[in-house]
């Protein structure tokens, strides 16, 4: 049974990834291209400034893949494989939850696990370290930023599992509704403290040293030595659009994953499609 569930999870994940990719290709890709153009223009302006000041000018390395390849095949493969990975992980969580989290229909459980995946893997980490288009993010800090992001993802997933276990423990004493609310409150409180304690990317030592104290790495206007703006800062509306589409792609991915997996699992678990006659339900504490 677990193999059948995992296979269905991976397939549902691939389909969900494809849907998310089509959305991202249409809406987010133009934002990525615009951000890359901004970065190129900014680099050119920086070269001019360095040249005028008599500083050594760095030359950008050559591209390994063309933009067309990156935007279509690369992005497609990346998102579809991400969908497969999340679908497989989703199926593992689903298989463990089946029959252990109270009276839920297979389809409803699928939607709840998908919601948990969306929150745990993407959205809660996003609240602290949001998705950024190209040109936001300094090369020197990638190691720290990567670690902080992964720590945030790991903590949000572990705490979410903890919240489910806590809810199950509280349920006999407080009832379903109140136990759920208490578990959510505990999750929000702990993750909130964690978000407050972890540094923002702008506060990383390498950034403070080079750019001063800022909350993020979003490029500010480029100025010459007289303080005149020679190149604008990153467009705020573009950043908003990119992040909105990034969230949109993930909502689609996890939503489609739950919606595709749910009926597949229901057919697998209740082959005769009967709600009344059921192979003797095993009551589990």
């Amino acid at each position: 049974m677990e193999r059948k569930l995992i296979l269905r999870g991976a397939l549902a994940g691939a389909a969900a990834g494809l849907i998310a990719f089509v959305f991202a290709r249409i809406f987010a890709e133009p934002q990525i291209q615009a951000a890359i153009d901004y970065e190129s223009g900014r680099d050119a302006a920086q070269h001019e400034l360095d040249h005028a000041a008599g500083l050594p000018v760095e030359h950008a390395g050559h591209e390994i893949f063309s933009r067309t390849l990156q935007a279509n095949l690369g992005a497609g493969a990346g998102i579809v494989l991400f969908g497969v990975a999340m679908g497989a992980l989703f199926a593992v969580a689903y298989a463990i939850c089946l029959g252990r989290v109270g009276k839920l229909r297979p389809r409803n459980l699928a939607m709840l696990v998908a919601l948990a995946g969306f929150l745990g893997v993407y959205f809660v980490p996003f609240l602290k370290y949001p998705a950024n288009p190209p040109s936001i993010g300094h090369e020197d800090t990638i190691h720290d930023r990567g670690n902080l992001y992964l720590a945030m993802v790991a903590c949000s997933i572990v705490l979410l599992i903890g919240a489910v276990l806590l809810g199950k423990r509280l349920q006999p004493r407080f009832g379903n509704w109140n136990a759920t609310l208490l578990a959510i409150a505990a999750y929000v409180a702990i993750i909130g403290v964690l978000m407050a304690v972890l540094p923002s990317v702008g506060q990383l030592a390498a950034n403070v040293e080079e750019f001063g104290r800022h909350a993020t790495e979003t490029p500010l206007p480029l100025t010459d030595e007289k303080g005149t703006i020679v190149y604008p800062g990153f467009d705020a509306d573009r950043l908003y659009a990119f992040r909105l589409y990034s969230v949109g792609a993930q909502v689609l991915l996890w939503g489609a994953l739950g919606l595709i997996f749910g009926p597949l699992a229901e057919r697998l678990l209740q082959p005769r499609k009967a709600n009344t006659e059921h192979p003797e339900p095993v009551h589990n504490a």
């Binding site: 049974m1 990156q70 990346g78 009276k103 709840l112 998705a131 990638i142 990567g146 992001y149």
Partner: protein, 71 residues
């Protein structure tokens, strides 16, 4: 939402006894995390193939969409 909270008459029995399925569940989770790592992290914060950038450049746009930190 009413659908989710409405009590159902059928409770789903434990379908997958973890003791028997543990190899498959753990194995799948490891493969999934490895995939997650290569799509999102390798040749960025960490790199197991040294200074090569092929994976990073190939899935570059996906990394940005999916919320991973990138250069």
């Amino acid at each position: 939402m009413s659908n989710l909270s409405a009590p159902t008459s059928v409770s789903t029995p434990v379908v997958v006894p973890v003791s028997r399925a543990v190899m498959w569940l753990v194995g799948t989770a490891i493969v999934a995390f490895a995939l997650y790592y290569f799509i999102g992290v390798d040749q960025g914060a960490y790199s197991i193939f040294g200074k090569d950038m092929h994976i990073h450049e190939f899935v570059h746009d996906a990394r940005h969409f999916l919320g991973f930190p990138c250069h």
